[in-house]
Symmetry: D2
Subunit: 338 residues, 4 copies
């Protein structure tokens, strides 16, 4: 059994990780650590798991956690991860960071997106971007993985085959995403106050969301050249789910069935990609609580419309992290996730 | 035109008051004041009213507000009202307080319910409890009104005829209420964080809600003797609405039609009470945004089940306050409310 | 007082019309008619209006309605309106149809969009498209108005100034709309069954929605040449609201402030258009229950992102119909709507 | 491996059963049968399970199903089960019916509650009421189990210890339940139409719900004498969950801690009962998707307030059915459910 710990276990991604790992036959939970322990158990914070996970929430005792863990998930907020992750490196422990701190290749991109200097820029190249459908073998060979962001996951999985096969123009891809409120995290904020969020739909961070550099970085690798996206996220009145509608220009005439055939061929054998019949749209409800990414598409004129639905906390965060863990440990990739 | 101001205009009750008063043909809004002005307009805080109410949010300048107002609504939180209300008394200005600070008759009850000493206990007797269906003439004669709480309004209106006519036992009346989240106010709190409140129903403050003393005080006046209620509120995943289900023991055998006939007779002519046909249940959606209280009932055995639905921000707060204002000003009671 | 009737009063648009007209000082409701009367009153169908509108729901007695009405709103479903509207024409009665039956200029477009032959193609040219911000004087001069669709309203109002001023390319405008469920009407259907619609977001009728021809027809008039849009609607888990995000290519370099200045100038004096500060996004909650269309925008590179929010039942249907009525009757356009 | 089939697999309970059984290590799904097969697969009906369960939906071929199954769950509607269940009896196949058809002991009670004659009254005594916490050994010994209703489960589990230990009076126990909309099933109906159910709370079937006879029958067995309950259900705007608030009169003075101690002792070792600390209220969100019943309580005066939360589709239906299956098969009771 692999001993797994979570550093920064008090957020929604922490809850989702524990939910998934409790069902995983090959791991046992070791430490659940938080920055400000208050003598609580995990289930005091998350009563849904009372009786299922009553482990104590310990403080960030680096030595104790390092000694007791074979693999560590980091669920700390952006900019906090890079404070703690370095202390666990070079110890033979596998690391998976769910924050954005190690996703970008360049420190200057990080500074622009997250507003502060990166504390450990030299480590950036050690972290593999944890999108299995794109980086499987590199993830398998790595000791450190940066788990992708939720929006980037939904967008990159939708575009990957089209970009790899040169189907679409790479300038001005439009991405219109709609997310549930849990994506904003566990801390109360005015925009997430129930009376403000309920019965409401609104765009935010229009064209300036911090996930755009991450998306363009990875999409460029997929395309083999620069990719320019215009990303507009929207908050929707639901707890979970991301639905991304992507508009791209086809390089050559094609119809929906042809593109779908290409996607089916490209994603053959992928355990967590479900391609819908031509013209059928995915629904976030159908992936709720699961690690699937459902993709639908329709060609209208010379525009390829791609639609992807994921659960922002599962395939968009903790589920994908466990999928990466399975790969790093040489286990069946779907273990604990189906 | 009556010049009306709101002291403490930045909460949901403030927004609802302004919405209603903008349509009121006999008043004009004078001052909208907040404790910590930040150079904003009302519509900066509440963009729904952009173009409808762009008045500035001023500070609590007592002299300026007093000089410029004929009637003042207080939308400050509990314990804050009693700091500011005294400064506006004895000036010939009519006052309507939406907080709990002047509802209770006795300072000791207040201390128990709200956890601090009342600052102006001598003024308590000057404030009339603003439930029009019970206190109409006293409200009309008063210069100061304490607007009832939301739960108390839904419960007292449902029980009033039964208590006045001695229909039911007054010991152990059970009140099971379900409220929308806006009742908790505008400040983000963990319980009101969308992912916590959505898809969730839970009781809270079981048997110890601060509205119980207020309810027992007024119900006792209606009954002409002590009334003991057991009150359990629940948070429901919606923005507006209170549904109260009340279980009382009949003193004598009666059927639903008989009790309904008594209610119809008692409430004849009441502009904001709607009695439903026998056995039909009210729905909070049917009173959403309106000042109505819908009441339904069913006799089962020797138990009288009363059900009432109100909009917690309208009949449960701001609508009722305007209804009180109309009475105090000698206007048609429904002005601005239909 | 103008005597106003509603033919086809049993849908959500009927309810919204009555809500608005009850507050309108210059009209009185005459007939509320339905195809299959069952001896009910309007408030039996819509208990929210009990005590406010207890008129009976009569059958479609053409003569009685014609005799008793100065203006008639038609709230019948698409394809049904054109069965009944002709019977009321040429009688000196003003007609406003809320269905799609008279919006399109050409019968062949209608056949393609709605799947059947138009029954009264010769009358199409008599109906003015009821978008006041575009057709005000023609509406004022007309006896027959075809009220625009909900999505088209949100899209056309957002694009009108940009098209009139030649700001944007007219090929491949992308429109990504998100709507509340009430847009689907009052009849239960699997997609609108609460457990299916709640906690769910999904696209539908991708690239083949019946509103596309209507939008392209009107946008072409605004642009003075063909306009090609790609329209993808999505169902969002809320009752009311439409949020449309529109992506258009600027013809010449401009920044957000410049475009906003142009919009402010173009829409100066428009009572129901609210333009938000640069980069701020509208929210459907802020227009809920009101006739406003809130518009925000951001220029990113050479793309102009336009965002508009309306209440699908108000500015997207019944509110706009009353706005048209006010124009046709020579009344203040905002009467009953503020 | 036990071969398990579902007769009547097209409802929400069918979906929940399949979800749970897919994770069950000791069973394999054999037949998923519906009354009106249309050549579909299970995942065509429930796309959330695409790739997880693509079994075909077959027709009700009694012989084929009987030959191929060791245990059958019946997910047919009330009154339909008793048409089909008899054809599978006396074949050595274990049967678990999720409808109400075999829950009541007497055919006359059934007629009153469900409005028609029972087709197989002689079989009623063969079915054990499937509440494990009460009937574990009888379930283990039986070949036929009638799975309890959702409301009855939430109420009976809350009252069981108090009744068995004679803590409370058995006349006039008040039960106020709040349920999510999925309890109404998969067929669209006006009350479950999203715009009608959203942002709405309302009581229904006041004092005349068909679950009352079932509850009184089982509670009487627990108490050793007649129990009279008054049951008022309410629809709440959420998909899943039942929260029941129960008001009972204590026979002798006790405080919350004493009653809680008794419950802890009575329910010791029960894998799916979670008792909350004194005064803490359960939340439906904390049991969402799980087979737990969370119970909280508070003594106020001489009233014992019991609160229970379950997921109506899991512990209220399919989860409990699988728990019963485990018992009948002599497996660990929690298999597939944690």
């Amino acid at each position: 059994m692999t001993r797994v710990s979570i550093v920064g276990a008090s957020g929604y991604t922490g809850l989702e990780l524990v939910r998934i790992l409790l069902r995983h036959p090959a791991v046992e939970l070791a430490h659940l650590a938080v920055r400000e322990p208050a003598g609580q158990r995990f289930s005091d914070l998350f009563p849904a798991l009372r009786g299922l996970c009553d482990l104590p929430l310990s403080g960030l005792d680096v030595e104790a956690i390092a000694q007791g863990s074979d693999l560590i998930f980091f669920g700390l907020p952006h900019t906090s991860s890079m404070e703690w992750v370095p202390r666990f490196m070079q110890r033979g422990i596998k690391l998976i960071d769910l924050s954005a701190d190690y996703r970008l290749d360049r420190a200057d991109l990080y500074r622009t997106a997250y507003g502060c200097e990166h504390r450990q820029p030299e480590a950036l190249e050690q972290f593999v971007y944890g999108l299995p459908e794109f980086n499987r073998s590199r993830i398998a060979a790595s000791a450190a993985v940066a788990n992708p962001g939720c929006f980037p996951t939904s967008v990159e999985l939708a575009l990957l085959p089209a970009l790899r096969r040169g189907l679409i123009e790479t300038a001005s891809i439009i991405v219109d995403s709609k997310t549930g409120i849990s994506g904003g995290g566990r801390s109360p904020k005015p925009a997430f106050h129930y009376p403000e969020a309920n019965e409401n739909l609104a765009a935010y961070k229009v064209g300036r969301h911090q996930h755009e550099p991450e998306m363009e970085q990875e999409l460029a690798k997929m395309a083999g050249g620069p990719v320019d996206i215009l990303f507009v996220p929207h908050l929707a009145p639901m707890t979970r789910g991301i639905f991304s509608t992507i508009y791209a220009r086809l390089r050559e005439t094609a119809d929906t069935e042809e593109v779908l055939a290409l996607y089916n061929e490209y994603y053959r054998g992928e355990p967590f990609i479900r391609l819908l019949p031509a013209g059928e749209a995915p629904q976030t409800r159908h992936v709720s609580g699961s690690n699937f990414c459902d993709i639908g598409m329709a060609v209208v004129g010379s525009t390829l419309i791609l639609m992807s639905a994921i659960d922002n906390l599962v395939k968009g965060a903790s589920g994908q992290a466990v999928q990466d863990m399975n790969i790093m440990l040489g286990l069946d990739e779907t273990l604990g996730l189906l």
